[in-house]
Subunit: 177 residues, 2 copies
């Protein structure tokens, strides 16, 4: 048999897990199910991921990479909207990335992926007086808005307009009051 070894099981697992994540949510995402979908035994994943958390970490890192790409293509003004759009289009992935289930301290590649995405935001604030503060504030704003929208705390008929209006009401000044 040449089917004893899978070929690229890690990638297959990530694909299967990613699909399950977006389609049935994080709670339904199990190592055993990913293994089943990849057509291997329930213990095969352990050859590539030490435990479930490690698989989640890899999925989250993927997410940060995707997010970074989405942001990098955008001119400063629309970057915020791109951030929110990503969250709304990949809600489960987004929640996984920021749900606190995977401690960044334990997964350096996760931290790097996150920092990479953050860099895109920092770039956009280079010319402002205190860029790191402005970038932090901007990230906080768009992130909070995304999260609260996902949770259903804002119920508006026209979501896109709402996002634009909320982001438009904010200015980044140079001195604290």
């Amino acid at each position: 048999m040449s089917t004893y070894h899978h070929g690229d099981l890690p990638a297959a697992l990530l694909r299967a897990a990613g699909r399950t994540l977006e389609r049935r949510g994080l709670a339904a995402l199990s190592l055993r199910e990913a293994a089943r979908r990849a057509g291997v035994s329930h213990n095969a994943p352990y050859r590539h991921f030490p435990d479930r958390e490690a698989l989640l970490a890899a999925l989250a890192a993927e997410g940060f990479a995707m997010l970074g790409e989405r942001l990098r293509g955008q001119p400063g003004r629309e970057m915020g909207e791109a951030y929110v759009r990503f969250a709304l289009q990949q809600p489960q992935r987004f929640r996984l990335m920021f749900g606190g289930l995977v401690p960044m301290t334990k997964y350096p590649e996760l931290r790097n992926a996150a920092q990479g995405a953050y860099q895109a935001l920092i770039e956009a604030f280079k010319e402002l007086p205190r860029p790191e503060l402005a970038a932090a504030a901007a990230w906080s704003l768009v992130h909070g808005l995304s999260q609260l929208l996902l949770d259903g705390h804002f119920t508006h008929t026209d979501r896109e307009a709402f996002v634009r209006d909320v982001l438009g009401v904010v200015r980044f000044a140079q001195r604290a009051a």
Copy 2:
């Protein structure tokens, strides 16, 4: 025996679950463990909560009530800092409240509790030109900042100063650009 009935099992379960939540995290929080801590059998909780999710919903609602209290006592300027302080002091509760594990649509008392906390923020922006937008932006800002701090995306020695600076850099204008 007079110990067959517990007395106030729902409250005891919430107390036990709340303790476990903050001390050992959401993952360690199980119905069976809460039952054990309350000194009842593993199935007793089902007389008061239809399932695990319902217990989480009750814990989250408690959280929104706590948050609302913390906010209501504050003058506008310090309300944001109070929000962040709550998140940092009760990280696991905060994550439960916003982790998307409990859909608000399914638990009206959760929605009410959340709206109650939001009201405190809206009050603070009454005099501004478009209060609902300003309040939404402010909530987004402080919420995102809390979340990102919890996740460890900002690593600063003086957290409190950082929070003040980030919040201080933002202005709420009247017209979008």
